[in-house]
């Protein structure tokens, strides 16, 4: 699982100042400034924010709204890159305390791929975390500097311990994919506290609690089926730990911090090398002839990555973050951000242009739904604007996995309609889902 770097440094990079959910950063540079690799160019202005660093050496061309992979335009720093690898001085931390770790995470700009700044996940205001999970089911291997898979696995273990230390949690777990034999093998070879690790499958009604007891360890690795979805945190937490997360809350409300592989690796690098989060690994998929994993700088426009690859046919669709839940891009000028995990390219012929027909009530979507919703009814209610009834049918529980749309023989854009309704509900009922930065939700959600 070797990952490759891009051969050339991109002509210019576009670094959005807001690569996380929360408050946008304040730019620290002006037009015309010279920057170095790893230089902080955006400073967080609140706890719910994360620093942004330059990934190249060069000159700031502009600070303006530029396209972002999430579909909207975001204030970004555009830097003209020069061919230089000059970095600012990186200071590795030596046995940092919990407080130091939180500061390192925020300062290194580590952000979960689902958007939350990692330090707010580990140390949410007013909440106590007692379990840290690394979700390795959805995102790919981070790659980077390691010789053998086992070394990678032990790096992960170290990262998990760092995360646990940062959050003050006593227990931690890594969840890998059931069919990902490489990872499972890698972890089977690692020793934790002198004991050989066993990857435990989550079977039936067994939850993590069982394995903590069973293995007599505070750190376990478990395997699970792959879950995709843009809103899976609560569902993932419930599936893995059995803790129910109330609507409008997130796993931190029940004492669980869910981190990604990338942020774990980034923390590892930040602590051991002092390196901020300015590089990431993305995978290329689709009709493309390319190494599967590519090590890129954050801010690299998609077109530079695409031009490194050979492509069979004409590009019809560029999708960031996977074909099931990803977002299609209307331009290849969008940059790789901390939230980007993969890029999928489809040819013109592969692009689906299905016209949606009337619902035939075949209930395939109902069978496919992992959270027992009735997508067949929700999509109609959404289309007719009956959002009240959508709420009564628990539309907020949708994890946006897209299985309903995938299964639909009438090719109805069910997921899009559900998101449309959720969006409308959020606007109409501002109290329904508390805003992220507000403390209103404190105490509203307890675990069970």
């Amino acid at each position: 699982m070797e990952s490759k770097r891009l051969k050339t440094i991109p002509e210019k990079v576009i670094i959005p100042l807001k690569q996380h959910n929360g408050v946008a950063c304040k730019p620290l540079v002006n037009k015309g400034d010279q920057v170095l690799i790893g230089q902080k160019i955006g400073e967080s202005v609140s706890y719910y924010s994360s620093d942004v660093h330059s990934s190249v050496c060069g000159e700031v061309l502009a600070i303006e709204n530029a396209p972002n992979p999430d579909g909207n335009k975001v204030l970004s720093v555009i830097i003209k890159a020069v061919d230089s690898e000059e970095t600012v001085a990186f200071v590795p931390a030596n046995n940092p305390s919990q407080k130091d770790l939180i500061a390192i995470i925020q300062g290194a700009g580590i952000v979960e791929h689902y958007g939350a700044p990692t330090h707010t996940v580990l140390k949410p205001e007013g909440k106590k975390i007692d379990l840290v999970l690394i979700n390795a089911t959805a995102s790919e291997w981070i790659g980077g500097k390691y010789a053998t898979p086992t070394e990678y696995a032990s790096q992960m273990m170290d990262a998990l311990k760092l995360l646990m230390k940062a959050s003050g949690a006593l227990k931690g777990a890594i969840i890998v994919r059931k069919d990902d034999n490489d990872s499972i093998e890698a972890f089977e070879g690692v020793k934790v506290d002198g004991k050989a690790l066993r990857v435990a499958p989550l079977l039936g009604t067994r939850r993590l609690g069982h394995y903590f007891k069973d293995q007599g360890s505070n750190i376990v690795v478990a395997s699970q089926e792959r879950i995709l979805g843009r809103n899976i945190l609560n569902f993932f937490t419930y599936n893995v730990t059995g803790r129910k997360v109330a609507l409008g809350c997130n796993p931190t409300d029940v004492g669980v911090a869910v981190c990604g592989v990338k942020s774990a690796k980034a923390l590892y690098d930040a602590v051991h090398e002092g390196k901020p989060y300015y590089e990431t690994v993305i995978s290329m998929e689709g009709a493309v002839n390319c190494p599967e994993l590519i090590f890129v700088r954050i801010g690299t426009p998609f077109k530079d990555i695409i031009s490194e690859c050979t492509f069979n046919g004409e590009i019809g669709k560029i999708i960031a973050n996977g074909v099931i839940t990803g977002i299609a891009q209307y331009t290849d000028e969008v940059p790789v951000t901390k939230g980007t995990t993969r890029i999928t390219l489809l040819t013109k012929e592969q692009v689906l242009r299905d016209e949606s027909l009337d619902c035939i009530h075949c209930a395939r979507c109902v069978d496919a739904c992992p959270v027992s919703l009735l997508p067949t009814r929700l999509h109609v209610l959404a289309e007719q604007g009956r959002f009240d009834e959508c709420r009564q049918m628990h539309i907020q529980f949708c994890i946006e996995c897209g299985r309903c749309s995938f299964a639909c023989p009438s090719k109805i854009h069910i997921l899009q309609l559900i998101r449309y309704a959720k969006n409308a509900i959020e606007q109409a009922y501002e109290d329904a889902t508390p805003k992220e930065s507000s403390n209103l939700k404190l105490g509203c959600c307890g675990g069970e």
């Binding site: 909207n72 335009k73 692009v351 242009r353 604007g385 854009h413 899009q416 449309y420």
Partner: protein, 266 residues
């Protein structure tokens, strides 16, 4: 003959007795089981036909009256009473439909096919849905996307998307309810009176060059109309011409002069 008389008297006695009994019982019951109700409701009940036929869709006249008072049921909901009853209920509820000049929605964008698309969209046909995926399909981020959110908002089928990918209003069906206007994410639709003849069909605040790149009929803020208007009814602010309808005499000079054909008479 005697038999017949007895028969008549007997039948009268029975039915009369029944009427008496029923009347007494009801009056007794209504006194004994009196429940205080909203006087407004009572008043409406007294105007309503009292047939309790259920044709209004509610459970009888008193239910309908209660819904009118408490839940804003339409005052025209009673099909039996018809218009007269509706007027009376309106009098009680203090609702008067002011019969002013009729207003219709007006589409303030003329882009449609004249405006370039940035990408091909496949999915749920709705402007807001497109907005959720990106900031709009058209090159002009102010203009009408023509995906028909307003059409679907109209409960009277009065709007439709024409061949030019712009919404059109069928005035015969329009009731001026304003639902389409509030549904538009880009605020393209506004109410316009029939007497207001001349309109600027553009809402773009982009600079002239940017507009020209994407739209053949957008307002470029050239100020020709402003200079030529004899009534000084047009002002260009922020690269967009605005007509003051109070001053406009519909002379048509601006319509002729506009290089982009943005201003229109209808």
């Amino acid at each position: 003959m005697n038999d017949t008389t007895t028969f008549l008297i007997e039948s009268m006695a029975i039915l009369g007795g029944l009427g008496l009994a029923v009347g007494l019982m009801l009056i007794f019951a209504s006194k004994k089981f009196k429940v205080e109700t909203n006087p407004l409701v009572e008043e409406i009940i007294s105007v309503l036909p009292g047939v309790n036929c259920g044709a209004c869709g509610y459970a009888g006249c008193s239910d309908f009256a209660e819904r009118v008072v408490n839940e804003n049921a339409p005052i025209t909901g009673c099909p039996v009473g018809g218009f007269d009853v509706a007027k009376e209920i309106g009098g009680i509820m203090g609702q008067e439909v002011a019969e002013g000049e009729k207003q219709y929605p007006f589409i303030k964008c003329h882009g449609g096919l004249n405006c370039v698309d940035r990408f091909e969209y496949v999915g749920f046909e709705d402007c807001k849905a497109v907005m959720m995926l990106s900031d709009g399909e058209k090159g002009c981020s102010y203009g009408c996307m023509g995906r028909g959110t307003c059409v679907r908002a109209c409960p009277f089928d009065a709007l439709y998307i024409g061949d030019d990918r712009l919404p059109h209003v069928n005035k015969n069906l329009c009731t001026s309810c304003g639902l389409c206007i509030s549904s538009c994410p880009n605020d393209i639709l506004v109410f316009a009176k029939e007497s207001e003849r001349v309109h600027v069909r553009c809402v773009s605040h982009d600079k002239g060059k940017a507009v020209k790149e994407v739209c053949a009929v957008g307002c470029i803020g050239c100020k020709i109309c402003e200079k030529n208007c004899p009534e000084q009814a047009i002002t260009v602010t922020d690269f967009l011409a605005v007509i003051d309808q109070d001053k406009c005499t519909a002379c048509g000079i601006c319509v002729e002069k506009c290089p982009q054909n943005t201003i229109e008479t209808r």
